[in-house]
Symmetry: none
Subunit: 433 residues, 2 copies
């Protein structure tokens, strides 16, 4: 292990700090992995140069976490809900609403929201590219402005909000009386498959009505996109035309008690992707947008680290989320993932040097395993390390899936994490007397 | 640790194998134990020569498992249900039906089934031997043929099926309208105790009716057995007469979704004892019978290993169950148990040499602790080791209760095991997005 600055040399155990204890939870999306052939049987975490992470592990308590439960591949939404202390089996109500909230659309109880993709289809509706060549934010924004002008037929007695997020990502919210989330996706989830018909998933008239509204709207969207000058330009530039909107994950807003109400402190979140922003907003956190934070491997890591440090001055708990590790995994790029981990390590180095370590607990984890071999989210546990004045430091010296498995936290559930952090902050209520 | 053939030298981490990944789950019944005085404080696993098992641990990820929950002694039926991923608290509906299904009796919803023993009683109904001297299959089969000819009184409007399994084991199924599983056992579970009256366990007329039917039938059985020529022969040979049938564990068929429906792959089971066959059949597995597999310590270990290897050619998941370790434990024979473990090790050696380790996950565990000191199933956790291409190998080098407790899987619940295996096979569904 490479040595680095010993942030923790001054770490005091001081009972006077209780009033101002703070915490920062760093979640690297899909950072955990399985042993990989191209890394000589190491995981990207094991192969990466990451002195700050290792120093966190060395000075802290380590363990492994099942975000949902052993073997069950988590989504980033369900895992983040769990890490914030909510039982995802009860709280989760679909991706759509979270994505929409994260994109800045207000979603009310009764609204039905969808996660959408700008995509490329052939005339016969077979999907060529589910992400329209990871369309630029600029092109997607221009297309979105046109789509927003479309009107639903009056007879539907409903209206919609549509907003693009990073690259191909977008969100759609339908608002009106008697809607239902029991409708199927149009997104076939695989290139080479035909776009699916949106159908009601039960026999309630609300579900049939919702399916009819979305079907009609998608047809209007497709018409507008196909003829759009932005797409004509894309074709000229040999880029795939974003000629359809695919939607999936019909959902509504989760019914959860916001964190500030549960713990009576101030929560903030620094994240780029709208799904995580949505989860955090729904949980009552202040969502901080950062210039240059793109959710890609080229995100402005340094700007996010600075924003997190700043946020910790005005808030008691900050969640710092980095998407880039997951992007590299889905692209089956173990080398890139290893490099991204190195960049996240530099973020941590900055954070550790710029926060008051005598009064702050820092938690480092991943929301799930994303295997560079399978390119999928996997149900393998993720490593966690917690460092701070109240932590029972253990003998683990390296931050990785295997090293942390030998740590003092043993194996915990995702929903335990927030309670453990709030416990260090003196914010959990005694049960019993 | 003794060295043996390094099966894993060629283990590849190859993303191309995803489509044909397979798994074999080896369950040695009651193999886990407590430290024993006669083994100088070692457990039988620690005392045994078992190079293949140790090699599995050395190349895999290890841990300990609570089949049901810490401290709760599992039955083989509930533990196997748990290992197959079913919550035993919800799925378990009594031993009787599982035993009956495993004996080849079809059990329908509404039937009430019992686990039965051929036993020896004195005239005053005090039990001399609950297993009738572990009666031979031949004698039990002859007696069974006579019992099957008995007719229930017409007024009962019910009929029965009775079938013997290995040695003293048998199963009884009552079929007819309005039956209940709320009836007590006649088996006192201890030699020296008197046979119990079968009573209704609640006030429903169905329960009274079921108790009356079984009481009547047991009396008829006893009459037929007492006078039976097989028993006269047994007495001449100084063997205990099988002069009564004891029944217990009134149950019905569990309501569970079969594994092939849950995971869309092919499941097989290689087992000798009818209880395990029954659990596996109910779970939708193809149950493979093996010539010479007796469920005793003299079982044909090699034939079972070969059958498992064959089964893995036509199925994606194979459960290989060996009863002998439990038999030795119940007989308080630590030396024999240690030898049996050595024989199971040779089975594993054969299996490892004859399967494609680059695409197969092998899981080795025990369904419960059976203590050679107490002769009982105990609630202590059992060791588990998983080896295969996707496993995060840990630093454990020996397969035993204590060595595995230091492994990378930490401590998991019985119901986690199937989800972890199906996770490696890419068969668990993502929760969230």
């Amino acid at each position: 292990m490479r040595k680095c600055f010993n942030y923790f040399a001054q770490l005091r155990l001081d009972s006077q700090v209780v009033q101002m204890l703070k915490a920062i939870l760093v979640i690297a999306d899909g950072m955990a992995d399985r042993p990989l052939k191209e890394l000589d049987g190491k995981t990207p975490l094991e192969a990466a140069v990451k002195p700050a992470m290792d120093r966190i592990a060395e000075n802290g308590a380590c363990g492994i976490v099942d975000p949902i439960s052993p073997g069950v591949p988590p989504g980033s939404d369900t895992a983040t809900l769990a890490f914030l202390g909510y039982d995802p089996m009860k709280a989760y109500s679909g991706r759509g609403a979270l994505e929409a909230v994260g994109s800045g659309i207000e979603v009310l109880q009764g609204d039905v929201a969808f996660r959408c993709n700008f995509a490329t289809v052939k005339k016969n509706l077979v999907v060529l590219d589910r992400r329209a060549g990871r369309i630029s934010n600029e092109d997607a924004s221009q297309l979105t402005r046109s789509l927003q002008k479309i009107k639903l037929k009056k007879s539907f007695n409903a209206n919609f909000m549509f907003k693009n997020a990073v690259q191909h990502r977008a969100a759609l919210v339908i608002r009106g009386p008697k809607l239902s989330t029991a409708v199927s996706d149009s997104d076939p989830e695989l290139n080479g498959k035909k776009v699916l018909q949106i159908r009601p998933l039960d026999k309630r008239p609300e579900s049939a009505r919702t399916a009819a509204i979305v079907t009609e709207l998608m047809a209007e969207f497709q018409k507008a996109l196909t003829e759009h000058p932005v797409n004509r330009e894309r074709i000229k530039r040999k880029q795939p035309a974003a000629n359809i909107i695919l939607c999936r994950g019909a959902g509504t807003i989760p019914k959860i008690t916001p964190l500030p109400e549960l713990y009576n402190i101030r929560f903030a979140c620094v994240a780029a992707v709208s799904l995580i922003k949505g989860v955090c907003k729904v949980a009552g956190m202040d969502v901080i947008s950062v210039e240059g934070a793109t959710g890609t491997t080229q995100t402005d890591y340094s700007a996010k680290a600075k924003a997190a440090v700043q946020a910790l001055k005005t808030h008691d708990f900050v969640l710092l989320h980095i998407k880039a590790t997951d992007v590299a995994s889905h692209d089956e790029n173990a080398r890139l993932k290893t490099e991204v981990i190195g960049k996240i390590d530099k973020m941590l180095d900055y954070v550790l040097k710029n926060i008051d370590l005598s009064a702050t607990h820092l938690v480092l984890t991943a929301d799930h395993t994303t295997s560079c071999a399978t390119r999928n989210h996997e149900g393998d546990p993720v490593p966690v390390a917690i460092v701070g004045p109240y932590v029972r430091r253990d003998s683990v010296k390296e931050y990785s899936e295997r090293a942390c498995a030998e740590g003092g936290l043993n194996r915990i559930a995702g929903t335990d994490l927030m309670h453990i952090i709030m416990g260090y902050l003196g914010r959990t209520k005694k049960f019993g007397s």
